[in-house]
């Protein structure tokens, strides 16, 4: 189509800028939510948290971010409808990016608790349903996504509840919790290594294997992931041997040394959290970008089965890293200072439960809210009588925020959609 040959470059540039801006926002604001628990429990310094976030957010985005990206890119809208009007899909995706970006900016400025995921999904559904036609939305898929928003916090809560209960029984309630902690914590480290390796093998490296003519069965992957898990556990055990019991710390709290052991575990769960977050949230920024790029590249052919160019995920991962470096460290410091009630033994349970949930969602291609999932996980630990005080009013307002975010994202995106169409004279 000549429209794309004429305007292709400028459309891609626009989309790349918006996508980068969104990714920057995720890095500046969202990552701090995922990592704040580690900083708050003093398991990591802000600098260490930033380093871990940079490496593992990027790895998560690049190795396991593909499924969610493809959902955002072509799962929510019904491509068939756009067959003879591909420019609408391009404008729509641009509007969605711009709408979600500006809504997030407004919300951050006003201090409202909103999620990137809800903004972008609302924006895409908005332009497709109102700007084009209600049939343009794949309502079945949208239904699944909305369901996953309800299920993910519950699942994370359940996992974290069980994790914390297991810690109670194996470690905290034993006669010698310090020794027991050193003995059992490598098992949790194994889970962290296994989880990341498994998702990477099953989802992230699928295409690499296909290109090289390699196939791995589920069992093969599980074996390799177990080996990775064992290696992680060995590394962890080595780090644990360096934690020596300091009796002077136990005068005030007999569990002070046990918490120091858990702090080592938290380094590992922080990695898994950053990986999980990268694998799910980067898609919010790069999914629409990927859609624009593939349509323009194929000259308007929507159904063309082009694989996503790797630079798109790189741009998303890069945007997050830049966001972290320019602003994220500040936010992380503020959040970390506020979360002082979460000790490492609880923080790890919340993080691991949330990370596992998010990674599973990433594997199935469901865009979920990392913050919601983490809030669910914290509540799970709270239900096991593990946390001093949780403000249910704030929990409610965080959970309810998506009810506002969906129409807001949709409305803005409809507005931008018609603006784009008018300014390109269509």
């Amino acid at each position: 189509m000549e429209f794309f040959t004429e305007y292709g470059t400028i459309l891609i540039l626009l989309a790349a800028c918006c996508g980068f801006f969104m990714a920057w926002g995720v890095g500046a604001n969202d990552v701090a939510n995922a990592m704040g628990t580690s900083v708050g429990s003093k398991a990591l310094t802000i600098k260490q948290a930033i380093m871990i976030a940079m490496v593992f957010e990027f790895a998560g985005a690049y190795l396991a971010g593909g499924e969610v990206t493809s959902t955002i890119r072509k799962g929510i809208v019904d491509s068939a409808i756009f067959q003879d009007r591909p420019e609408d899909l391009v404008f729509g995706m641009l509007s969605a990016l711009l709408a979600a970006g500006s809504w997030l900016a407004i919300a951050s400025f006003k201090g409202w608790p909103v999620s990137t995921t809800h903004s972008i999904v609302g924006a895409i559904v908005g332009f497709a349903a109102v700007g084009v036609s209600p049939d343009a939305v794949n309502w079945g898929k949208v239904g699944t996504i909305v369901m996953s928003w309800l299920v993910s916090p519950i699942m994370a809560g359940t996992l974290s509840f069980l994790l914390f209960r297991s810690v109670q029984h194996l470690i905290l309630l034993q006669e010698d919790p310090f020794e027991k902690a050193k003995r059992y914590i490598p098992i949790y480290m194994f889970f962290v290594g296994f989880l990341i390796a498994m998702v990477t093998l099953l989802k992230g490296l699928k295409h690499v294997f296909k290109d090289n003519g390699m196939t791995l069965t589920f069992l093969d992957s599980a074996m390799i992931a177990s080996v990775v898990g064992v290696l992680v556990a060995i590394l962890g055990s080595y780090l644990l041997t360096r934690v020596k019991r300091d009796l002077s710390l136990e005068a005030n709290n007999r569990f002070a040394n046990v918490e120091r052991v858990f702090a080592v575990l938290m380094i590992f769960t922080a990695c898994s959290m950053a990986f999980a977050h990268g694998s799910n949230d980067v898609a919010n920024a790069v999914g629409p970008l990927a859609a624009v790029v593939s349509i323009v590249a194929s000259g308007g052919d929507i159904t063309a089965n082009t694989s996503m160019p790797p630079w798109i995920l790189l741009l998303g991962g890069g945007g997050i890293v830049v966001g972290l470096a320019t602003y994220g460290y500040k936010v992380m410091g503020t959040i970390g200072r506020k979360i002082t009630e979460l000790t490492p033994s609880r923080g790890f349970a919340a993080e691991l439960g949330a990370a596992a949930t998010v990674v599973i969602a990433s594997g199935t291609g469901l865009p979920i809210s990392t913050t919601h999932t983490l809030v669910g996980a914290v509540l799970g630990v709270g239900l096991a009588r593990g946390i001093g005080a949780i403000d249910l009013r704030m929990v409610g307002s965080i959970f309810l925020s998506w009810l506002v975010t969906l129409p807001a994202g949709a409305g803005l995106s409809i507005m931008f959609f018609f603006m784009f169409k008018a300014s390109f004279g269509l």
Binding site: N33, P113, L172, L173, N253, K338, E341, T371, A389, I390
Partner: protein, 226 residues
């Protein structure tokens, strides 16, 4: 850019540390009771007045802590222990400080001369009562360990043991109170009646210190119940 869209906003301030700080302040107050009495026994009303001022100051700062605690306990908090139990614990703790101040206030105001024959028993009685309060403090100090273990296991048994000791101590105080009352009864015919009434009053209130401490123990036990 404000940051209320963050996970940190869901964490309330844990009630454990503030309630422990309040109890520490209350104990500072009640532990001066013996010094105060010794000063009055030595007829040194200047020192007694000084100690009373310190006790008043401690009582006031405990009061401030109590008010702050209540301010930070909105109904929307989800805690491992019931909000009502915590609020009644802090009320009982505060009562100990109030009682201490009242006891000293009456003695100082009336320049109450307690008969020499009762001095030893009186000091013993006050000492035991103070120890009861300290034992309640011990139980309150375990709250952070209880939270750490999620209110389960051997830590619960340990706290239950502390509470049993607290109850036993309170019974000792009761026995000493009975003995002191009997001695006072034998002397009361020779003493000015109004003084005697106030002396009984003081004994009541010192006994009430131990009773209140025991009630704190009972409340902590309620926290342990699932």
């Amino acid at each position: 850019m404000t940051l209320s869209n963050s996970i940190s906003s869901i964490f309330g301030v844990s009630p454990i540390k503030p309630i422990q700080n309040h109890m520490a302040e209350v104990i500072k107050c009640v532990s001066k009771l013996e010094d105060f009495l010794n000063a009055t026994f030595a007829d040194d009303w200047v020192t007694a007045a000084e100690v009373f001022d310190q006790i008043s100051a401690d009582e006031q700062s405990a009061d401030k802590l109590k008010k702050q605690f209540r301010m930070h306990m909105p109904k929307s908090l989800f805690m491992p222990v019931s909000r009502g139990d915590l609020l009644s614990i802090i009320t009982q703790q505060d009562n100990i400080a109030n009682l201490t101040k009242d006891i000293c206030g009456i003695i100082l105001g009336r320049q109450m001369a307690i008969p020499k024959a009762l001095h030893a028993d009186f000091i013993g009685f006050v000492g035991s009562s103070t120890v009861t309060c300290e034992k309640a403090h011990g139980a309150i100090n375990e709250l952070d360990e209880l939270l750490e273990t999620g209110f389960a296991g051997s830590e619960v048994k340990f706290v239950q043991k502390l509470i049993r000791e607290l109850a036993a101590q309170e019974q000792k105080v009761d026995k000493k109170e009975l003995k002191l009352r009997k001695k006072l009864f034998n002397l009361e015919a020779d003493l000015p009646p109004v003084n005697v009434i106030f002396m009984y009053n003081i004994i009541d209130q010192i006994g009430a210190l131990a009773d209140t401490a025991e009630m704190i123990g009972n409340q902590v036990e309620l926290l342990l119940a699932k």
